[in-house]
């Protein structure tokens, strides 16, 4: 299971990659592995305001339906349309092609309590 070092993590199993003021959001390798085969994805539209720790979408696998929680607050500037048509990419490439949102952040301070790769790895191992 992969835990790339260049991104931050949440206890709800989302990841966020920050470039300047733009945060890219997706779900982790552990999340896709626990969910099993993903069959459906629901994302907000461009321009939607998202709030830290609140739901921004829904992911559905053959096992369960789960809410997606935003690691940060801000405005959605782009969503991954291709992923909605091919949600199975979440299982294949969770940290790459399966990015979900690009968000223009409104508070960089919100990044501070997110987990590092090592912290998240430890959290996941305890959760098992």
């Amino acid at each position: 299971m992969e835990f790339p070092k260049d991104i931050k993590y949440t206890k709800e199993h989302e990841w966020v990659r920050v470039e300047g003021n733009i945060a890219t959001v997706g779900i982790t390798d552990y999340a896709q592995d626990s969910l099993g085969d993903v069959v459906y994805l629901e994302l907000p539209s461009d321009g939607t305001a998202v709030t830290k720790d609140e739901t921004f979408g829904v992911v559905e696998s053959v096992k369960a339906v789960s809410d997606l929680y935003s690691p940060i607050g801000g405005t959605v500037i782009e969503i991954n349309d291709a992923l909605i048509d091919n949600p199975e990419v979440i299982n294949d490439d969770p940290y790459g092609d399966a990015w979900m949102l690009k968000v223009e952040m409104n508070n960089h301070g919100e990044l501070e309590d997110l987990l590092t790769a090592d912290e998240y790895k430890k959290y996941v191992e305890e959760e098992k």
Binding site: S34, D37, V39, V62, K63, A64, P87, E88, K128
Partner: protein
């Protein structure tokens, strides 16, 4: 033998019946019916002989697995046996041939049965009034939540929130949301139940209700319920209890005595009416007096010895279902309650709880028990021990089919990873329970010694493992020729 689709059996112009030539003049539909109401011809409509239609559907029905064919321990669903006497009473002509528009005067028997059933459900739950109208459990939840919303609206102080524990049924948040509330989730604590502190921390005067399932989806009794109810009541809120798990409590404890203000009954679970394909369901709702004026109308009232339908209910949330609910199901539930009597119902709950604990004790150690304590009418295991060999709960469930059992509920409740939720009900013999336990223990051995056998199950069924992922990603929902 593979059974073709009915469409594949079709032959052009083949008919099941021969209709005599019409002695009325034939009209062109387009000449007499407005265009908007005309339908195109159905293309590919199957044309088969009567015997082929009968054989086709008989064969399919024989492939069904129901509670009449075997043990069906589907957790949270209470798949108890449906006594056949219920079918007799529901078919009595006075009930089965009654027309929903016939007058109250000509419906006295049906109205009396409904009135008395409401009374029985009040007695069992400790509620003050019951409506029989909702069509199933979640519909009952919606009814109860709409009544709560109407109560606060009438007071001129609408409330926006509902507190729901993570051990509640999945439909509870959905029903609250549909009734216009936002959901405040709270978590169970170490013992698998919610605590007064966690409720007090979020309860306020914008919160209309706390909605919980008791016993909860871990099969555990929410033992702090009275104290929690006091906290909620002090802030003017209501307690909604999902009654789907009432099979653990009948005749032993009344939810009304614990501070519950609203409950829905699932007649298709607790009261032995068919559940699933054989339905329909029925989800009566019981309330305490302050909520009674808001129940759906019409209400059944008794004046002297006569029963009437009362539509003069200005505060009612209105009608929730065509006519009066699923009446024939009410007849079955009434028969069950009368046949069992108070002692019988109590015994049923006692046996349901005993059977679940028996299975729990026998499987404990070989399967990881998520919450190791005395359970109510169902118990929750997980695949923690088997997943070390990469055998997961789905595999174990599929393998159970090879042993002739319907698999229990899997991957629910969500708060237990790889959950297996077993609800045996009271109607099974010890021999049946032992047969199931033996199968589960054998599968535990197989998972260690021959994981591939379990991972590729089922082996003895008509079809092997289906590609559920492809079915969900590319569903084919209609015949395309």
């Amino acid at each position: 033998m593979k059974e073709p689709l009915i469409f594949e059996k079709s032959a052009d112009k083949r008919k099941g019946v021969s209709i005599p030539k019409s002695d009325c003049p034939e009209l062109n539909p387009q000449a007499v019916i407005p265009k908007d109401f005309l339908r195109d011809d159905i293309k590919g409509f199957p044309e088969v002989s009567e015997i082929d239609a009968v054989r086709h559907f008989t064969r399919l029905s024989q492939r069904n697995f129901g509670v009449d064919s075997g043990f069906y321990p589907l957790g949270s669903c209470t798949m108890k046996y449906n006594p056949k006497i219920n079918e007799d009473t529901a078919r009595l002509a006075g009930f089965s041939k009654a027309h929903p528009y016939q007058s109250d005067e000509l419906s006295q028997g049906a109205l009396q049965l409904m009135y008395e059933l409401e009374g029985f459900l009040c007695e069992i739950s400790g509620m003050d009034a019951v409506t029989l109208q909702p069509a199933a459990g979640a519909h009952g939840e919606l009814c109860g939540m709409l009544a709560i919303a109407a109560y606060f609206k009438e007071k001129g102080k609408p409330r926006k929130k509902v507190i729901i524990p993570d051990t509640a049924h999945g439909t509870n948040p959905a029903s609250s949301h549909l009734a216009g509330f936002s959901v405040v989730p709270i978590k169970e604590e170490n013992g698998g139940v919610i605590t007064p502190d966690s409720v007090a921390a979020v309860m306020n005067e914008d919160t209309a209700a706390l909605m919980l399932t008791n016993p909860n989806t871990l099969g555990l009794f929410e033992r702090n319920i009275k104290e929690i109810a006091d906290i909620v009541h002090k802030k003017g809120g209501f307690i909604y209890c999902d009654g789907a798990n009432l099979n653990a409590l009948m005749g032993i404890a009344k939810l009304g005595d614990m501070g519950v203000d609203v409950i829905q009954f699932n007649l298709h679970k607790t009261f032995s009416t068919p559940h699933g394909g054989g339905g329909p369901g029925s989800g009566p709702v019981g309330v305490k007096n302050p909520l009674e004026p808001f129940l759906p109308k019409p209400r059944i009232i008794k004046k002297g010895k006569r029963f009437n339908l009362d539509y003069n209910r200005p505060k009612s949330i209105g009608r929730l279902k065509a006519f009066y609910g699923n009446f024939a199901i009410m007849v079955r539930a009434y028969s069950y309650i009368r046949a069992m009597g108070p002692d019988g119902l109590k015994k049923a709950s006692e046996m349901a709880v005993l059977n679940a604990n028996y299975i729990k004790e026998k499987l404990k150690g070989r399967y990881h028990l998520a919450y190791n304590q005395t359970c109510m009418h169902e118990c929750v295991f997980s695949d923690k021990l088997q997943s070390e060999k990469d055998v997961h709960i789905l595999d174990i469930a599929k393998r159970l089919m090879d042993y002739g059992f319907h698999p229990p509920t899997i991957y629910f409740p969500l708060i237990v990873s790889g959950a297996l939720m077993i609800e045996p009900t009271e109607t099974e013999t010890k021999e049946t329970l032992d047969g199931f336990i033996d199968a589960m223990l054998k599968i535990a051995d197989e998972a260690q010694e021959n994981p591939a056998l379990v991972k590729n199950a089922p082996h003895t069924t008509r079809l092997g493992r289906l590609d559920e992922t492809r079915a969900a990603r590319n569903p084919v929902l209609r015949w395309k020729g």
